[in-house]
Symmetry: C2
Subunit: 273 residues, 2 copies
């Protein structure tokens, strides 16, 4: 089912600025036993994105009702919420009183193999870089051509994710995930000041680090840091946490920090339903 | 009138990747006396964009017919062509055999005051930067949040355009235009290797420089270069060429090179119908 501004339909106005300029935001949310997982954190990021782009935040009670409606009877699925600035005339300048468009849709759970989560994955490097723009960094806006091009670089079904660097060569994350490394038993992850998406699962992991007595550093992570890491993992709201076992020529163990975090995430979120 | 894949309608499928990721391209074309101005050059850029994003190029004879259909009876207007990768499932990875979406729409001619073209305009500086990505530079793709944010920075109707810098501080162009400066009687314009849109009017001006015996240099233009220029102008497919008379605290004359170029463009393109 798809709800557009509360109406069941599968078509939007062609004048929508989401189409013309990518002028909007989205959230991709795991649904488990009719429940939107980490829903409050997703809404917080959506609200932050709306604030940064000066798009009116959808009313909470309206969203809650529509989300509950879509999640009804769904044992496992993916809820996508898109909010655009709405329709407008031609030209980059936003119209004076835009009426945002709210699109909620339910999608099948992705058929990720269990081995990715349990044993780990192989990562490759992407050549498409991420451009710097602090005004867009962190939020999950609809300008995603960099990720589309990066994800088009390979077809190998045995490689589920690729590492993206920024235009200065620093590691930012995966095409659809955030990345952490373990060094001296503690967590390190790229800062997202200039580009990248501040994933909701990344935020949850940062919160879980404290009760697990792990220190976390956010900084400018280099390829050398990634290659010399003790452990590596990627995360997002659907995969949870995937250990990385190989990146190009470098191999990593299925390490203790990654295992502890993965167990904690899965127990906290009743992952996998 | 709006034609979507040849059908008269004003709605598109919500699953279109143009909406989800800005996964597509567009062209904005002046229409004068039922004729799409610089049509061949617009199609060349659209084709180049399709090639760079690996989107199938719309068939020329289909486009020609649809464009002629829309331009019929239009004495002055704006034709917009959007080509997206088409509908797909969730996820950045393009579907294996996407069917591109082709959207043609006719819009009113913008009510630019004649004084902008004849006397010139005031430019301001934008704080929203343009991120570097050589894979996206030059083409007119649908990821336009940087321009939307930049154009949202001011409301003053007396200032029709703003200057955008890249993330390293170099001048790239206007929010909706390309920029040229005159130095020692010759033309200089930012190169668009790392970001920016290679405007069709910019390309036309580069071509016209030769018969006017003007040398052109494309390079990394600084704010100091802009401020110390003899003449400055901006251009796009709808405005043609607007002399710049003021940028922040700097004033410029209505200079001879700008005047010659403007006259040539207007006579070559029967501008203003």
């Amino acid at each position: 089912m798809i709800l557009i501004n509360g109406r069941v339909t599968s078509e939007i106005e062609v004048a929508d600025r989401g189409l013309h300029y990518g002028d909007g935001l989205f959230e991709t949310i795991a649904v488990c036993k009719e429940r939107a997982v980490l829903y409050a954190a997703h809404l917080r990021r959506l609200e932050e994105g709306c604030r940064r782009l000066a798009i009116a935040v959808p009313k909470r009670e309206v969203l809650d009702k529509e989300v509950a409606n879509l999640c009804q009877g769904i044992s496992q699925g993916v809820l996508k919420i898109i909010v655009t600035r709405g329709s407008g005339g031609r030209g980059y300048r936003p119209p004076p009183q835009p009426q945002p468009t709210r699109i909620l849709s339910m999608h099948p759970w992705p058929d990720y193999p269990a081995v990715s989560s349990e044993y780990g994955i192989t990562l490759r490097i992407c050549r498409t870089p991420l451009g710097h723009n602090p005004y867009l960094a962190g939020i999950k806006h609809l300008n995603r051509l960099e990720q589309v091009l990066a994800r088009s670089e390979w077809d190998d079904p045995m490689i589920p994710e690729g590492v993206m660097l920024d235009s200065q060569g620093y590691v930012i994350g995966g095409t659809m995930s955030n990345l952490f490394i373990v060094r001296e038993g503690n967590l390190q992850t790229p800062d997202l000041i200039s580009c990248g998406v501040a994933g909701v699962m990344r935020g949850f992991i940062l919160e879980q680090a404290l009760p697990l007595d792990l220190k976390v550093t956010e900084y400018s992570l280099t390829l050398a840091d990634l290659k010399s890491a003790e452990e590596v993992f990627v995360c997002n709201s659907l995969m949870g946490l995937w250990p990385v076992r190989r990146f190009e020529e470098t191999q990593y163990p299925l390490g203790p920090v990654t295992q502890r975090l993965r167990q904690r995430i899965h127990s906290q979120l009743s992952w996998g339903c």
